[in-house]
Symmetry: C2
């Protein structure tokens, strides 16, 4: 089987290519704008693995939640690759990449959105693997503390700063998400028959962009 | 700080480059012989990060235990890069890459050596991070079961097949080791002042090569 996968939902760009038993992963963290590096990195990866886009059985794509600009670049790139050859797509929640910490009983992955707000998703663990409990959410720190989070869940953050607002909760810093963790997620989804048509590919837009919020402030909510 | 790191102790080649806040990781699993891919991959990585070898503050190198041929390629490459500019080296035990599973109290990383033998290293966990308890060992399955392993340690294997010989033990498959886990290991060692001169760099040779064993069988043990 031959496939490619991209997650561009944070400042860490993850890229995976598989050609039968050969696997190549590339991680670019803070290296530059995703828009500058993603296309050349895909090209280099295909060359290392000696395969071409039209041979791909599917393309994986992280659809956030996370950086809106990053997601637009990643999803546009996947669309550009998949459309011409009508390659099926596997979309997955980018927070799942952070849930791979073994031996937890239940956990909540937390990713900072705009000031005072967090994306979150809850997981239980089966055979040391995380299984999402529900769709991801987007809520204020106050709301999270006053009802959504419970004290017997472990909070998983991406870095120390994000952890600070949740003192008193059992929490840890996620292992850095890697292309090979992405591989486990998309292969599981592919085996479960969860491919979609590339025309259906869209990001989780849980957070309105600052531009949208400003527009609503000035002009009232659109319907 | 600028640095590079390589682990070539298994069929998964790990490569890391850091240029100040920029990090790039490359994983090549089964892609081909390490001897063919390592040098060009290092060159590409340096280009992405816009840095040159002579600027490096140090070079990290996994010294096994693991594939003897793989280790020779990786260590030779690090020597080739470090010698001309006398760049300090951080060497680390490759089994540490497999120990990064959170929320364990104590664990033993297991890596298959020749038929019926395993490399192993024990870890305790501090603040969710593994700390090695002693130097790695190399022993037969029988000896491991009859004294070295205890039932309250979790065994960490690289794949399902290696696990089969240890039925009845609490065990799990390691998360795939990643360049960014290697980053955590070498940065910790660098901060602890554990650099060595490149002339001191050598692999863990816990296992005699098949060639050495055959020689001894024919000619008697050398002294």
């Amino acid at each position: 089987m031959k496939y490619l996968s991209i997650d561009s939902s944070s400042r860490r760009l993850l890229l995976l290519g598989v050609n039968e038993d050969k696997t190549m992963g590339v991680t670019l963290h803070n290296v530059g704008r995703h828009g500058t590096y993603l296309a050349p990195a895909v090209k280099d990866l295909l060359e290392y693995l000696q395969m071409s886009v039209k041979e791909l059985d599917f393309i994986g794509c992280g659809i956030g939640p996370g950086s809106l600009t990053g997601l637009r670049v990643g999803i546009s790139t996947v669309k550009g690759l998949a459309y011409p050859f009508d390659i099926p797509v596997i979309s997955f929640c980018s927070l799942d990449l952070l849930a791979y910490n073994n031996y937890l009983s239940s956990a909540v992955v937390m990713r900072r959105g705009r000031e005072g707000y967090y994306y979150w998703r809850k997981y239980r663990f089966e055979g040391y693997k995380p299984v999402p409990v529900e769709e991801p959410g987007f809520d204020s720190v106050d709301k999270l503390k006053s009802g959504i989070l419970t004290k017997n869940e472990v909070l998983i953050f991406e870095n120390e700063q994000e952890k600070e607002q949740f003192e008193g909760y059992d929490s840890l810093i996620a292992l850095p998400p890697s292309p090979e963790i992405m591989k486990q997620i998309i292969v599981k989804a592919f085996e479960a028959g969860e491919t979609i048509d590339v025309r259906e590919l869209k990001p989780y837009y849980l957070q309105k962009s600052v531009a949208e919020l400003n527009w609503e402030r000035k002009h009232g909510k659109s319907t």
